[in-house]
């Protein structure tokens, strides 16, 4: 029964794993259909690496970053200890306990040292889990707990705790004792049977429905030594289970009446098997994806590695994220999340929608806009990538996600901010795809705010949000325009730039600032501050130009949102 259930669970696990692994080749940020090509290429690259001197790097990474968790240790001793306790503890439990019969020739779970080791490793896991729960409950302002994080903690907790519980109940169970005696013991007399029982009650934690005689314990010990001790070490070696069993003493007969031991055994086993069966679709897939991500990134050479492999690598990386929040703690712009009200600014919160994006699961237009803004509001400081314990090249993931979203025709006004400096440095590799989104968003902005006749009817005067309305001092002497190095580039600047700086200041003073939102001048301003420096009236020309650009980009963003709302009918 158990064997066949185990096999079923294992094959469900295997099927899920095959599905997941195939998704690493099938899926991509852009949604191309080249799975087979990527599959062949990926496996041949992996094969080549395995049979080359690179195997040294692979083994080193697996040892240092995989088993010893070097990257986590570099970030935080607490997180390292927490994870290592759970990881090593659970791995050792699987080897020495779950697979005990396969690993050890004469494995008996109640004999020494197994009785001790199981409790030792189980306690390691519990301590680690306690640290993990504490870390998440402390409510570090940037750490979000997803349902998957909760599942992972609860699943391990239930598996390990049910194990301790089972052992504790077993120690006191008279049913269990009687069954064992029937099966393995042979007594010369009734008294011998009573003696063994007395020994077990007094020394081995058993709870008997009848009173036992203290005097028989010594004799019982002899029988125990000759018949039971080979398989039964003192249960105190299982320190935690034994401790737990003491609290159950009054309930012992009740437990036996409902056959609690057997039921608990089934619970423990079934939970383990279910967790195994669904493993590929849970956070525990990281047992496979993280070592892969670590190895691939250690071998990765951005100049020589194949672009098809890059896509496969990024799909593995998405599955290698364990949502630990290390990247977010390091993020240079993490404090932009609150004022902007977009959680996708945080690197650790970008992965989930990206996963949905690549697997073509539902993502509303609003969610698409949020993730696009999220991946774009990034200074490309590389800190997320450097700190990721799973070795994910997050910055490159954001870069590819941006381009993929642009290719879908989504527009992000922040593309017209200095955040685009990094994209500009990489213009050559983007080839013809580089210019398109810039031109599109520009055109949209200019078209939206094209000066129309009706704009020039005096609207109500609007103050600038933060900037002093210093433009009131402007008497249109044109000094700002005359010193502007951008204006100076053109023979007929007004044809290229729309309104020129002095005109913009004038329009502001007239309360017509929205009329200049669509002026190319705002998008061509270098913010070199020459105009502001030169103004005889102390007008903060550059700051005002920057403020106007901000307002224009915000208005455009708002418009994008409205459009989406009207399409989706929200």
């Amino acid at each position: 029964m158990l064997g066949s259930l185990g096999l079923v669970a294992f094959f469900v696990f295997l099927g899920g794993l095959v599905f997941k692994v195939s998704s690493w080749f099938r899926c991509s940020l852009r949604g191309e259909k080249e799975g087979f090509k990527r599959f062949v290429l990926g496996f041949s690259s992996l094969g080549k690496a395995l049979f080359s001197p690179k195997i040294g790097i692979i083994l080193k990474v697996l040892l240092l970053d995989g088993i010893l968790q070097r990257r986590t240790l570099k970030e935080s001793l607490y997180r390292w200890l927490m994870h290592v306790l759970i990881y090593w503890g659970f791995a050792l439990l699987i080897i020495t306990h779950a697979l005990g019969k396969l690993v050890f020739e004469d494995y008996v779970s109640t004999a020494f040292p197994h009785a001790l080791l199981r409790d030792l490793f189980g306690s390691m896991v519990l301590v680690g889990l306690g640290m993990a729960i504490w870390r998440r409950l402390r409510k570090a302002p940037t750490l979000r707990t997803s349902r998957m994080d909760l599942y992972a903690i609860v699943a391990v907790l239930v598996i390990v705790f049910s194990g301790f519980l089972l052992k504790g109940v077993k120690i006191i169970s008279y049913n269990n004792y009687s069954r064992m005696v029937d099966e393995y013991a042979s007594f010369g007399s009734e008294e011998e049977a009573k003696a063994l029982e007395a020994y077990w009650v007094k020394r081995m934690g058993l709870v008997s429905p009848e009173k036992v005689e203290e005097a028989l314990v010594a004799k019982g010990e002899e029988i125990h030594q000759s018949q039971c001790a080979f398989c039964h070490a003192n249960p105190r070696w299982s320190f935690l289970s034994y401790g737990l069993s003491r609290t159950f003493v009054p309930l012992a007969s009740g437990f036996d009446r409902v056959n609690f031991t057997e039921k608990l055994w089934w619970v423990h086993i079934l939970i383990c098997l279910i967790a195994l069966a669904i493993l590929p679709f849970t956070k525990f897939l990281h047992l496979i994806s993280v070592p892969l991500s670590l190895v691939i990134n250690a071998l990765w050479d951005p100049k020589r590695s194949n672009s098809l492999n890059l896509k496969t690598k990024q799909m593995i990386e998405l599955d290698a994220c364990v949502h630990c929040g290390t990247c977010t703690l390091k993020c240079a712009v993490l404090d932009a999340e609150k004022p902007l009200g977009n959680i996708r600014v945080l690197p650790s919160e970008k992965i989930e929608p990206l996963k949905r994006l690549v697997s073509k699961r539902k993502l509303s237009q609003t969610e698409l806009q949020e993730i696009l803004q999220g991946v774009y509001l990034c200074t490309n400081c590389l800190r997320c990538t450097v700190s990721c314990p799973s070795g994910i090249n997050l910055q490159e993931l954001w870069f590819e996600a941006r381009e993929a979203l642009f290719e879908r025709g989504l527009l992000e006004p922040a593309l017209l901010s200095p955040l685009s400096f990094y994209r500009g440095l990489r213009a050559e590799e983007l080839e013809e795809k580089y210019e398109k989104p810039i031109l599109e968003i520009k055109e949209k902005l200019l078209r939206r705010f094209e000066p129309k006749d009706n704009v020039f009817q005096m609207p109500e005067e609007k103050e600038f949000e933060f900037y002093e309305a210093s433009f009131r001092g402007c008497f249109t002497c044109q000094t700002c325009t005359n010193v502007c190095p951008v204006v100076f580039q053109y023979e007929r600047p007004e044809e290229v730039l729309g309104f020129l700086p002095h005109q913009i200041m004038r329009l502001c003073a007239m309360g017509l600032k929205e009329a200049v939102y669509g002026s190319e001048m705002l998008l061509s301003c270098l913010t070199c501050y020459k105009c502001q420096e030169a103004c005889p009236q102390g007008v903060m020309v550059t700051d005002i130009l920057m403020g106007l650009k901000m307002e224009a980009l915000k208005a455009l963003k708002e418009e994008e949102r409205d459009e989406i709302r009207s399409i989706s009918g929200v």
Partner: protein
């Protein structure tokens, strides 16, 4: 004076040699500095996205340095200008400061307005002084002609950054002369490098880069001295595209002084 070294985002990711050479130089000059855990984006790119966000980002850095009782020492013109501007706004408008401090609360931070923001050039020239640098020159870089590039936000708006005369500064030239090299007063030394528009308006951005380099070459410069990662990356990375090959080496002011100190071999 104690400083908090503010690296910003570009230096660690794309110009780590600037950090190395700055640390080298500051150590040699006996400056008390350290990097503070938690420093993030200065807020510069967010000034055209959302002013509140930009100010929150700036204020966090200011508050972090303030908590450690250190003045910010920036190696980047744009970080410097942005932090200075934010400081001015937050110092002058208390209701704005309170509004921004609300966002910092979650981090246990509070900006009070006691921290100063300084650029490396300010620290070298004003806090330490040219004499202190001159004393350490053991390997004068004679006969090297160096054109200067200030970087806009180190000079303008002068009412905020207050580094040197915005129309005719001499600070960078003097620092170069101290090293024994010959500084060149090139026409375009106060112009923009083009970086602020890279990625949004490459035509304008690269025009400025081209003119800048051409101007330095016309004056027979062998090096173009910069003190900002944006300027350095912009002026270094597009020469091939603009001139077909690398025509002029840009050099960081820290590298130049380190060379004069005999700390690093000439390129």
């Amino acid at each position: 004076m104690r400083y908090a070294l503010f690296l910003g985002c570009n230096i660690p990711a794309r110009l780590p040699e600037y950090e190395t050479s700055a640390r080298f130089l500051l150590k040699e000059l006996g400056v008390d500095f350290k990097e503070i855990e938690g420093f993030g984006c200065c807020g510069y790119p967010f000034r055209v996205i959302d002013l509140t966000t930009s100010l929150v980002l700036s204020a966090k850095n200011l508050a972090l340095a303030e908590r450690e009782n250190r003045h910010i020492l920036s190696l980047c013109q744009c970080c410097y200008g942005t932090l200075k501007k934010a400081k001015k706004m937050l110092d002058e408008d208390l209701s704005l400061r309170n509004q921004i401090n609300e966002f910092l609360k979650a981090n246990g931070l509070n900006y009070r307005g006691t921290v100063e923001v300084k650029h490396l050039l300010h620290v070298l020239y004003k806090d330490l002084g040219p004499e202190m640098i001159r004393e350490k020159v053991s390997n004068p870089l004679s006969e090297i002609k160096v054109a200067t590039h200030y970087g806009c936000h180190s000079l303008r708006p002068s009412s905020i950054v207050e580094l040197d005369d915005p129309s005719d500064p001499r600070l960078l030239e003097e620092l170069i002369n101290i090293t024994g090299a010959q500084s060149l007063l090139v026409n375009k030394r106060l112009e923009c490098c083009g970086a602020p528009l890279l990625g949004t308006n490459d035509e304008v951005a690269l025009n400025f880069t081209r003119e800048k380099i051409a101007d330095a070459l016309k004056n027979e410069a062998e090096y173009l001295c910069v003190a900002c990662p944006y300027c350095k990356l912009q002026l270094e990375n597009f020469q091939e595209k603009l001139f077909g090959k690398k025509v002029l080496s840009t050099i960081l002011i820290t590298d130049l002084i380190n060379m004069a100190f005999g700390l690093q071999k000439a390129h």
